[in-house]
Symmetry: C2
Subunit: 350 residues, 2 copies
């Protein structure tokens, strides 16, 4: 049982210690649903392992506060532990600290100055088609109706505008099988990926300015597999690459770029997700920026602001975690930043 | 049920159509055992999926005729099919044609001029510790007692002396995990294998002369794997290499060579098997060469002649399959070569 009377830092630790690697969010989603159902001012809905809770106060404006419940695979970094001001553990920064702040707001604000929709969803860290927010947007779009959205992904307490897009592609090199004792009768497909890796190592990433914010792209191998048996020259080797592209490119333009980089190779695209331009000049976004303060910057990681952008809802990233620590073995979050985030959000909605 | 009254070519097809990828030899071993147990002149023993059958005629000399029952993984090449003189299918050449000839000898020779031990064994195509001949040599060495051995591995009907050794090593490159949207905080281990592949592509294999026969070495990647998740810079990538070394090197010298090639990288050795020098000057080997005829040449693939060599039994490779076709999708064997092999062996033992 999650205890929403704990301060947001202690609540983060409780949430982190419920392991929820993508696809395994059920126990945590159950705990979140159970905690929210004790709050009489909220209507609670559930779809799979996504939980949505709403106030219905008839306010002129409705805002949406969202966070994903899943994490990347563990790296020997659970259970959580506190050292001074830092809480260590898988998902502390990305993004259970944000989830904890949102749950605290749900508990502390029976009558916020705007109607609020809280969304806690599954499978953000994996292929787009498994994404819980995507599923709810398709199956229950009315649950997501809002004038403005704050996604509590890690931003180190700074408002981050827009996000970069992402796509994955498989670069396949083919060869010819042979017995490895007479390898000259075959063509080794693993040896054949050397030039693919050479192009990745030589790649110069763009740092374009978009709507006044600087983005930073990246093109990386995130997987490689090849091999038939220990005595066979392999006839196929696949390099999976991930391209993170700035929001001045459409997914189609990004695909063209990847095709160009790997010109001469067999390239097949799997999933992709559009980026989102910063859009901070939108009135609803500007009001949030004014209330929270600070200087907005570009969001480098892909986040579901792009999904809100597609639904026509202006959205920003704002959360207490440090984005540079996300997905790292030594991931942590500052307890001070969590408390500051909670205070800023309460000031905006209270 | 195998029909040992069929000619050796038709019997090969029967055997090929019983799928027996390494680890899955039971059905074929059962069929071989059942067929041999119908022959009253043989004593039949079994260990796991290895079947041993012996005459006991009190001859002055005992010879051993051996073949493995397993094949490499299928490649859409079953069931077998005949086109003209060629029988196509997984294992036709390596080495079910040899197995068929040995079974025919067992059926046709109730009173050979030498006592004969027939050995049909499992798991030759995988790690040395799973090898059925290895297991029988350890658990029942008396079953393998012999003055000379003929291993019916594919040699295209030519006697092949000795064999090359083989070893496998894992070359591990390590990096640092990070979110792929901020890849510059990590170190990509997959990108890091580029120089490993460059060394493999630049490698010049030796062609040394040993006891008058020319060998041909090879160093190849046979597997590669790396990757954590589609949005994580991977912190580890492993290239599995297979070194086939001429019999003038011991396994220890071969390991030293691999360490030297991958100097600066993390190298770990898994299994290895010694080569065997040709040894055709041994009297028992020379008698077989005189009976069968032809000009012996070097055996390039590793075979269990090395295992007989370690047991002190002179041994040669001699079989109807074409070694250049082994482990290839389009593997086949000549029906004429099978018949010729059967005739030569009958002439030697009849």
């Amino acid at each position: 049982m999650l205890d929403l009377t704990l301060d947001a830092g202690a609540l983060t630790a409780q949430i982190v210690d419920i392991e929820s690697v993508s696809g395994n969010e059920k126990v945590l989603a159950d705990a979140v649903e159970e905690a929210l159902r004790t709050l009489p001012h909220l209507t609670v809905d559930r779809s799979g392992d996504t939980v949505v809770a709403r106030t219905s106060l008839g306010r002129a404006e409705r805002v949406l506060i969202a966070g994903h419940l899943d994490t990347v695979p563990l790296a020997g970094n659970l259970p959580s532990r506190v050292e001074g001001d830092l809480l260590y553990g898988c998902g502390t920064s990305d993004m259970k600290a944000g989830v904890a702040v949102a749950l605290r707001l749900a508990a502390l604000l029976p009558a916020p100055n705007r109607d609020v929709t809280y969304v806690f969803y599954d499978c953000e860290e994996v292929e787009a088609e498994r994404n819980g927010l995507n599923r709810v947007g398709r199956d229950h779009p009315e649950w997501l109706a809002a004038d403005f959205a704050v996604l509590m992904e890690p931003t180190d307490g700074v408002i981050e505008g827009g996000c970069q897009g992402t796509l994955r592609a498989e670069i396949t090199v083919r060869g010819k099988r042979a017995h490895s004792a007479r390898s000259w009768f075959g063509v080794n497909a693993i040896h054949g990926i050397e030039p693919v890796l050479a192009r990745l190592n030589a790649y110069q990433a763009r740092l374009p300015m978009v709507d006044g914010l600087e983005y930073h792209e990246g093109l990386n191998a995130v997987g490689v597999h090849g091999g038939v048996a220990g005595n066979v020259i392999p006839d196929e080797c696949v390099v999976v690459v991930n391209y993170r592209f700035a929001p001045d490119l459409s997914p189609e333009q990004a695909q063209d770029h990847v095709r160009e980089v790997f010109d001469g190779f067999e390239v097949a695209f799997s999933d992709h997700a559009s980026g989102a331009r910063p859009g901070l000049t939108d009135p609803a976004a500007a009001a949030f920026v004014a209330a929270v303060g600070g200087t907005p910057r570009a969001k480098l990681g892909w986040t579901d602001v792009a999904r809100f952008s597609e639904l026509g809802i202006p959205a920003v990233n704002y959360g207490p975690g440090d984005p540079n620590l996300a997905h790292q073995q030594g991931e942590y979050v500052s307890l001070t930043k969590i408390a500051e985030g909670e205070r800023a959000m309460l000031a905006w909605l209270g």
